[in-house]
């Protein structure tokens, strides 16, 4: 049991977070590489454990990657599913290591968000380049503006968004756990 929740409650919370990630993805579909999904998946891992966080990430991409206005590619979907689980795993790994979270911005989380996104972008860009037959160097260099937008936005979202999001959700989960 995580945070006093039984398995059904944990599954329900994971499903809600997956739905939230999906909803925000479709809402922000016109804003390339700026999404709240990574923050939500990280929060899922932090609140429910690494496995559940990875599951939320994988499920989100399985839906979003399949029903995607920009098209479908199985290798890229595999890469994004794998990359997204990193956020959940990292969230789980950092549970209890960040100290008490308030509502104030936390610069450490900006670093976490940036580095996780850097790894995610690197992995997905490499797979996309190999899939499309584009030279790796061209894909990596050409992808820099998009990667920077992704990394910078995630650094901001994690720094300013994660403490209030995690604190609020913790309170809600504690209420239901009683």
């Amino acid at each position: 049991m995580e945070r006093g929740l039984n398995n059904t409650q944990r599954t329900a919370v994971a499903a809600l977070l997956t739905a939230s990630a999906l909803t925000t993805n479709y809402l922000l579909v016109g804003v390339v590489n700026v999404k709240l999904m990574d923050l939500i998946v990280f929060a899922a891992g932090f609140l429910l454990g690494a496995g559940a966080g990875a599951g939320v990430g994988a499920l989100t991409w399985l839906v979003y990657g399949t029903l995607n206005p920009y098209g479908f590619s199985l290798p890229v979907l595999g890469a994004t599913v794998l990359g997204e689980t990193l956020y959940g795993l990292a969230g789980g790994a950092l549970r209890g290591r960040l100290g008490p979270l308030g509502w104030r911005p936390d610069a450490r989380l900006a670093v976490v968000g940036f580095l996780l996104t850097f790894v995610y972008d690197l992995e997905t860009n490499v797979v996309s380049a190999l899939t499309a037959g584009v030279p790796l160097a061209v894909a990596l260099v050409g992808g820099v503006p998009f990667a920077v937008a992704h990394e910078a936005s995630n650094a901001v979202f994690f720094c300013f968004g994660f403490p209030p999001l995690a604190s609020s959700l913790e309170k809600v989960l504690e209420t239901y756990a009683r």
């Binding site: 610069a107 260099v141 920077v148």
Partner: protein, 141 residues
């Protein structure tokens, strides 16, 4: 300390990526510039134009780039403020860069071919070729 190191790693990664990206863009832009310049050189010619104001002031406009077959009048209009009158004999230049009005002085043009020779036709009828050297002189009679 660990978090500071991680933050520095972030800035290094971002800075490194930005450097590589902008260096690559610079190389691309330089290559584009060279290709455009080559195209421009293939599609244009260069002439040298001298303007002698007749008062000791001489100005050279070397390497003036014009379209092949462009007229001397149009080439001069590119490098100077020219006032001219179109007559039945062609364009007659009245003033170059505001210099005019001296009695018995006229703007005449010359072409250089081992020595200066007065232009045989009006400036709007003389077609230019790559490497031509021409002059406008405020000539008194």
């Amino acid at each position: 300390m660990t978090w500071v190191a991680a933050a520095l790693l972030c800035t290094t990664l971002a800075g490194g990526a930005a450097s590589i990206y902008f260096y690559t863009r610079l190389v691309q832009v330089e290559a584009d510039y060279r290709r455009t310049l080559d195209d421009l050189e293939r599609l244009t010619i260069m002439v040298d134009v001298m303007v002698d104001y007749g008062n000791g002031t001489v100005a050279w406009f070397n390497g003036t780039r014009v379209s092949p077959g462009e007229t001397l009048l149009n080439a001069t209009l590119q490098v100077a403020d020219v006032r001219y009158t179109v007559t039945e004999f062609g364009a007659f230049v009245d003033a170059v860069n505001g210099v005019s009005g001296v009695e018995n002085h006229y703007w005449l043009w010359y072409t250089y071919d081992g020595g200066w020779e007065m232009g045989p036709v009006s400036a709007d009828a003389w077609r230019l070729h790559d490497g031509d050297v021409l002059a406008w002189r405020y000539t008194g009679f």
